[in-house]
Amino acid sequence: MDEFDKLLYQGAAQLPPDAAPSPEPPKPWKKPMDRVCWGLALITVTLDFLYLNVILPAIGAVLLWLGLRALRRENRGFRFAWVCATLYAALRFAAVIVLATPLDHLLAEAIDMEWQSLTGAVPFHTVVRTGVLQLLLTLTAAGLWRGLKGVFRKAGQPPKAGSAGAVTIMLFLLFPLACIGLTGWLLVGPLLLIWVLLLRSLFKLSRSLDEAGYALSPAPVRVSDGKAAALWLGILLAATALGVALSARLPLDASPVDTAPTAQTELRARLTGLGFPEDILSDLTDQEVSAFEGAKAVHVDTARRNNNGLRDDAPLVTFVEVQVADYRNVYLSSFRWEDPPALRSTDALELIPCYTASDTQGHPVLPELDTAAPIGRLLWEKDGVTYAAPLDIREPRDVSYASFFCQNDYTAYYTDFSLPAQGDNIRVCVLWSLRRVPERGLWFNYAANYIHRKSLWVYPYQSGSAWAAAGQPGSPSFSPFLWLQEWSEGLLDDEAYYAACREG
């Protein structure tokens, strides 16, 4: 202790002669209990915008952990609560990080079980994860309850920790209620009100501990609370960002295009003669060109989508419809990025071979069309060499969702692919064939929608194809994806169909 220290002690020993109010004694319980209360409040807040449903509970988990870290030396109840809060925060953060990657979707596919709640099907592993988190939170509250009772007992006073007990019971009951899938303000409103009142009561209890100045045996810390909180949240942010970045691209099975002389010279010449675009034809392999064997007519439809903010950077879209036999057509969709997009991440295609179909009277008919599985390739140029990578087009799936205007039901094929990190003149080409059933419909249209990922930040992880299959949720301005919808009508069969009708 130096001279100045002595002077400070001596000076502080006397209050000023003009009698300022006595300083309030320190309140050792205030900070930890405030953090515990705010932690519990934030964990249970669910605001589904601006990622607040992730950020607020994460901050709440850290506050709860920090509050109980200071109290853990006080008694066994608090120590137990602290251990549970640590596990809770770790599991909660792990869940946040996993949601940044495709792992959650892969897990759902691997388990392939769903829980039916009143609001719809929920992946089973999500229910288990929520259950474990809620159990840990309940145990944390139970430890807090026991710890608070211990404090009053130590002070020789009757336990007044009823609010902590009620919070424990409430947390215990919330999980089954969530599993049932309760919705609606009439049900949720009273529960929310009870929860707010319970937290208020817990805040009051902490105030009474403050005012009575109950002594606390706080645990010494090596890392200050601020640094510990920054560490928790920094790890969460860094790991989540890493997860998003690592999930932004798919492996690209690229190889140089074989430039050996074509064996389909005659067919290629015939297709060119019918009006098939030469640049697209030159991208097709002999095997792909063989799909057009017997070509009778070609219809070409070219468009450049310049809406949705892409303007001139949009890919040039070309639809080619080739009639190869009566009622059998081969369709080709080509998307050509003449200028590479600003972000080369993972894009997707949604192919809907028959979006709507109607009969001669205009009545809708079931879109039952025989179709072979689509095939396609991604091509680009780099250093004067053309590279290609096959598209992994998955099994068709039935899509059903309600939009503002109508109910949408159709069968679609999906593929996700990463654009090459380098190179230009990127194009995606996909073709499929249809065998129409004459009596089933006259008029139909089909769609090939391109989904471009325009933002590197996609959280939680979602592929472009999953986003499209879900009905392109979210505002176009805030969505990480750009939906380039292209559709065309099936045109080449009309004459044959009418002929069939006349004969019939």
Partner: protein, 180 residues
């Protein structure tokens, strides 16, 4: 917690008031006395002294001027400090001395001392809330750095750093008074 009814009972000299007052505030008094008096027996005796003084001077307590915890906290701190000083004198001189520390040698020095105290508290008032809290814990309530660190959730080094900055600020502001 509303203590007004308890204070009224104390002021009315009701027989059950003091035990209730002791039950309610013993944790607070123990908390304040503990860093100043390391000896357990000293602390117990001091606890009795504090409640005796509180019983005797409850009439002076004015809720308008501050909370009961602040009023009682001051009594507890002063009682503990007096006991600590008495212990020190006893160790140095032999016979116990319960009288408060001697004031300055003369009116001039007393006036200077009072001015220095005023200057210190004015400087403390200019500290921000956290710095003021740190100052009070260290120099008013005599809390050891380890206790401050643990209660504030800071590492020892962080508290030492913050205390250093508080001292530096006070030293800069009080240089004329405390150096001269």
């Amino acid at each position: 917690m509303d203590h007004s009814e308890l204070i009224r009972a104390m002021k009315d000299r009701r027989s059950d008031a003091l035990p209730r007052f002791q039950t309610a505030f013993a944790p607070l008094v123990k908390y304040i006395v503990a860093p100043i008096l390391p000896d357990g027996r000293d602390r117990e005796e001091c606890l009795s002294d504090v409640f005796l003084r509180a019983w005797e001077s409850i009439g002076e307590y004015d809720p308008e001027k501050g909370t009961v915890t602040a009023w009682l906290g001051t009594i507890a701190r002063n009682t503990a400090l007096n006991r600590q000083r008495a212990n020190e004198r006893r160790r140095e001189d032999g016979p116990p001395d319960e009288t408060p520390p001697a004031p300055g040698d003369g009116p001039e020095e007393a006036a200077l001392r009072a001015e220095a105290v005023r200057a210190l508290w004015r400087a403390v008032d200019r500290l921000d809330r956290r710095e003021r809290d740190l100052f009070l814990r260290k120099y008013y309530y005599y809390q050891p750095t380890a206790q401050i660190a643990a209660e504030l959730g800071l590492s020892l080094r962080a508290v030492e750093g913050k205390l250093y900055r508080v001292r530096k600020r006070l030293q800069d502001e009080l240089g004329g008074v405390h150096r001269g």
